[in-house]
Amino acid sequence: MKILVPVKRVVDFNVKIRVKADGTGVDLANVKMSMNPFDEIAIEEAIRLKEAGKAEEIIAVSIGPQKAQETIRTALAMGADRGILIKCDDEVEPLAVAKLLKGVVDAEKPDIVILGKQAIDDDSNQTGQMLSALLGWPQGTFASKLELDGGKARVTREIDGGLQTILLNMPCIITTDLRLNEPRYASLPNIMKAKKKPLDEKTAEDYGVDITPRLKVLETVEPATREAGEILATPEDLVEKLKTQAGVI
């Protein structure tokens, strides 16, 4: 069995981003970049399936600038077998990403694609679902547990009211939620080994996909900011303030 895991290079989750004053976007110069945390969980899940003898090969694919190959190398250092970089310098919307991934799926014929449920930069939460639609495959989104058995995937999903379990035909799409697993760190020897693993470079044209955006970003602004309030001395003061000043209790 083959597993495909798309990985995205995003601003590190610890960075507090700054909005450019002229409204043209977010300032990404000299900002620490990392693999999207949900994609680390996706890679980890794929590796665990391989370690359990349920998968033979893990392919990590990234769509992004040349530097996204660092993200692929991270995936390879964690345990993916080979990488594909589809080079795109501009931002690619989830629908176009899904179309490119469909191209990769058609060429590589994986049995499962495991994606992060959302990228922590655009917070769209769309790509996995869109890829499922384009392929006509079932989807197990926001997964906190994945079991492969008897040619089906049993997925426990985090939903608004708690947990839901569904059974999917294979091949299928999985998107990861936080509690699916705890991703490993790559060891130094594995980081060295990863440098020798194969990494192919492709372009959107190779897959015949039009990546023209459908949405036009008119402006990017700072959200309304909140001022720090007051530190109170006692719980008694707090109750008093909530009653008389804030009027919320």
Binding site: L95, Q126, Q164, R214, L242
Partner: protein, 314 residues
């Protein structure tokens, strides 16, 4: 062309998020139809018809629609969507699951979690955990939109839209529903509560969470929330998580207990009207956005706070 609004429900009653998403729908078009898809949910359709501004309710009932599986909902809505300029749904776990699938079937983009409608084709949405707000204009013929309901007021009741039954296509049969483990609580629903009391890693155990957070919530008739760290540690279940990748809430009063205030947590609660932080570290980032803060040990502060509250209400 009008707008199709997807109702959020559990086959028994209409979720309050729908009335809020209705406000967003009406800002795009005055001609809003509501789709109620499920099984044995005709009473939900009647409820939906009462929403102010509803022009018509479409009711699709079938056994395979009962559990709102994405594959089935997308197959149902694909042909319907083509009759509208936009399809909207409140951003719940059901719509986050099926709406992007629908968008891809229609070959259009989705605009996720809008917080404002600037014009029928231009919307505001938060990115980077709410640390930037983007205005985006859609050039697609059909706009697929999920609505962050905290920023839209619920419409009143007062409509009397008729209910029209529509046929559901046959099951696509790609996936099966096995079961659900839903949290049961007497507390108000987190996403809709007027007061939320949230606990963090500092609670230290499930027992402490029950002992310290629950009674305070009960006293304030509040919903209970949590940070990711508290959920990961198993103090409460996943549906309590507030934040960038959990639930977004904006109650009148949000009390954060033993929560540091990571960007990802703030993303889910910083639009609350009044924020109270209780933390032993006066440098904790949560204090930078809190209206009122108490610096100290929560295990000492919470019992005192409870007795003050009962004094003042008694």
């Amino acid at each position: 062309m009008g707008v199709l609004l997807i109702a959020e429900h559990d086959n028994t009653s209409l979720n309050a998020a729908t009335a809020r998403a209705m406000s967003a729908a009406l800002a795009i078009s005055k001609d809003v139809h509501i789709l109620v898809a499920g099984n044995g949910c005709s009473s939900v359709a009647v409820e939906a018809g009462k929403l102010e501004g509803a022009a018509k309710v479409l009711l699709a009932e079938a056994p395979h629609l009962e559990n709102h599986l994405a594959e089935e909902l997308a197959a149902l809505t694909e042909p319907l969507a083509k009759q509208y300029e936009a399809v909207l749904a409140p951003a719940t776990s059901v719509s986050k699951n099926f709406m992007p699938r629908l968008a891809a079937l229609l070959d259009v983009a989705q605009v996720s979690e809008i917080t404002a409608v600037k014009s029928p084709d231009t919307f505001e949405r938060p990115i980077y955990a709410g640390n930037a707000i983007q205005s985006v204009q859609s050039s697609d013929a059909i706009k697929i939109i999920t609505v962050r309901t905290t920023t839209f007021e619920a419409v009143e009741e007062g409509g009397s839209a008729s209910v029209e039954k529509i046929d559901a296509p046959a099951s696509v049969g790609l996936s099966d529903f096995i079961g659900e483990e839903l949290s049961s609580s007497d507390r108000p629903e987190l996403a809709a509560a007027r007061v939320v009391v949230s606990g963090g890693r500092a609670l230290g155990s499930k027992e402490n969470f029950v002992k310290y957070i629950e009674p305070l919530a009960e006293q304030l008739n509040a919903a209970v929330g949590a940070s990711r760290a508290a959920v990961d540690a198993g103090y409460v279940s996943n549906d309590y998580q507030v934040g960038q990748t959990g639930k977004v809430v904006a109650p009148e009063l949000y009390i954060a207990v033993g929560i540091s205030g990571a960007i990802q947590h703030l993303a889910g609660m910083k639009d609350s009207k009044v924020i109270v932080a209780i933390n032993k570290d006066e440098e904790a980032p949560i204090f930078q956005i809190a209206d009122y803060g108490l610096v100290g040990d929560l295990f000492e502060i919470l019992p005192k706070l409870q007795s003050e509250l009962s004094k003042s209400s008694g």
